[in-house]
């Protein structure tokens, strides 16, 4: 049991993981001409759901209508398939390392599981809002944007991490 526990805490050397991720990103740009992403798939599913429930509203509202067109379904989107892949790949990696377990809450011993879940939800909500302003999240804007030398990507990277450091003091109880 001890061995399993120890094995589940073994991760790739971060520089090796970084090289692999960089080569994957390079391959992705070489094949598709674009980088990797994560929030795009969620946006597609929301656009699809809103279009299903209230089609007239979706077609006339400025943001939803940007992603609706007659010739293709919003879910038949590159990022939707890529995101399904993210779940599969992460599950495989976790399975091999013995990290796939029944649902549990990871939190600092100084906070309750409930506090962790409240802040996780709020954080996700803010990240969701921010990713739309940023036209991409850490993957699509910061990482892919920086690698392709887009000014917006470089700015997104500096701002996401800069803002994290700026606010870190106020939320230190959640983590340390």
């Amino acid at each position: 049991m001890k061995n399993l526990e120890e094995r589940s805490k073994q991760y790739l050397n971060p520089y090796f993981g970084g090289v692999l991720l960089g080569l994957l990103l390079l391959l992705t740009v070489y094949i598709t001409g674009r980088g990797l992403g994560a929030t795009g798939a969620i946006k597609s599913s929301i656009v699809t759901a809103v279009d299903r429930v209230a089609p007239t509203y979706a077609e006339n509202q400025a943001y939803y209508s940007k992603f609706l067109s007659d010739d293709h379904h919003p879910m038949s989107n590159w990022l939707v398939f890529e995101t399904i892949g993210i779940f599969v790949g992460a599950f495989l990696s976790g399975l091999i390392a013995g990290r796939v377990k029944k649902f549990r809450i990871e939190h600092s011993p100084k906070i309750t599981p409930k506090t962790r879940l409240i802040f996780a939800t709020l954080g996700g909500m803010l990240f969701g809002i921010g990713s739309q302003f940023g036209r991409g999240c850490t993957s699509g804007a910061a990482l892919s944007g920086t690698a392709t030398m887009a000014t917006a990507g470089f700015l997104a990277m500096m701002l996401i991490f800069g803002s994290g450091y700026l606010f870190a003091y106020f939320f230190r109880k959640l983590w340390i």
């Binding site: 971060p14 520089y15 993981g17 970084g18 090289v19 991720l21 390079l26 992705t28 740009v29 070489y30 001409g33 929030t39 969620i42 929301i46 809103v50 509202q61 943001y63 038949s76 995101t83 892949g85 790949g89 992460a90 599950f91 990696s93 976790g94 990290r99 796939v100 029944k102 549990r104 990871e106 879940l117 996780a120 996700g124 909500m125 803010l126 990240f127 969701g128 921010g130 990713s131 739309q132 302003f133 940023g134 999240c137 850490t138 699509g140 690698a147 392709t148 030398m149 887009a150 000014t151 917006a152 700015l155 701002l159 996401i160 991490f161 803002s163 994290g164 939320f171 959640l174 983590w175």
Partner: protein, 196 residues
């Protein structure tokens, strides 16, 4: 000859199969690097674990050097690569909100998916929050449209913004990255260890 798809070397129908496979590799690397743990991720902001900085900066550096090299060898038509357009107001507002979300939630979107995949309930809640946030943004869009389209500069690159060559920017980025690796290794030695 790259990018392969936009140049017609790969059939559109294969596009989604490729998307799935690249996604599998993406998820695998993120999880194997430890990105499924919010406490490891948040370590970058408190100095007890710099895995985010190390993986992220190495990846950006490798892909950047790769693209410079591919361009130099004429293996890729760099003008056909998608350049994220800059809307200065919008990216500043978005970046700051994302940083706040990161420190509160402990994940970013891609990493929260890997947390969900191995059974972290906090990652499930973070992902639910993403849905909520994107829904709120989309619905409130008429009110915030001005910010979203604010400060439009078009699809500019750092070469145009800073007036330097692609190669020089890559060189400066590598130097800054190596410097960051050195500094964080010093910081990590001084910060109290936290077992996650």
């Amino acid at each position: 000859m790259g990018p392969l798809i936009s140049q017609g070397y790969i059939n559109q129908e294969w596009n989604f199969v490729i998307a799935l496979l690249l996604g599998v590799a993406f998820g695998y690397i993120l999880e194997a690097s430890g990105f499924s743990s919010s406490r490891k991720l948040a370590g970058v902001f408190y100095g007890y674990d710099f895995v985010v900085l190390r993986v992220f900066m190495t990846a950006a550096m490798v892909a950047m050097i790769g693209l410079v090299y591919f361009d130099h060898m004429n293996w890729i038509d760099i003008s056909k690569i998608f350049i994220l357009p800059t809307f200065l107001t919008s990216v500043i507002v978005g970046g700051v909100i994302m940083g706040l979300g990161f420190i509160m939630g402990g994940y970013c979107p891609g990493t929260s998916f890997t947390g969900v995949a191995i059974g972290k309930l906090d990652a499930v809640f973070f992902t639910a929050g993403l849905y909520l946030g994107i829904f709120i943004f989309s619905t409130a869009f008429p009110l915030i449209e001005g910010i979203y389209y604010g400060g439009e500069l078009g699809p500019v690159t750092v070469m145009e913004t800073f007036g330097i060559s692609r190669e020089l920017f890559a060189f400066l980025f590598i130097m800054a990255t190596l410097m960051a690796f050195f500094v964080v290794s010093l910081v990590q030695k001084r910060v109290k260890k936290i077992e996650v």
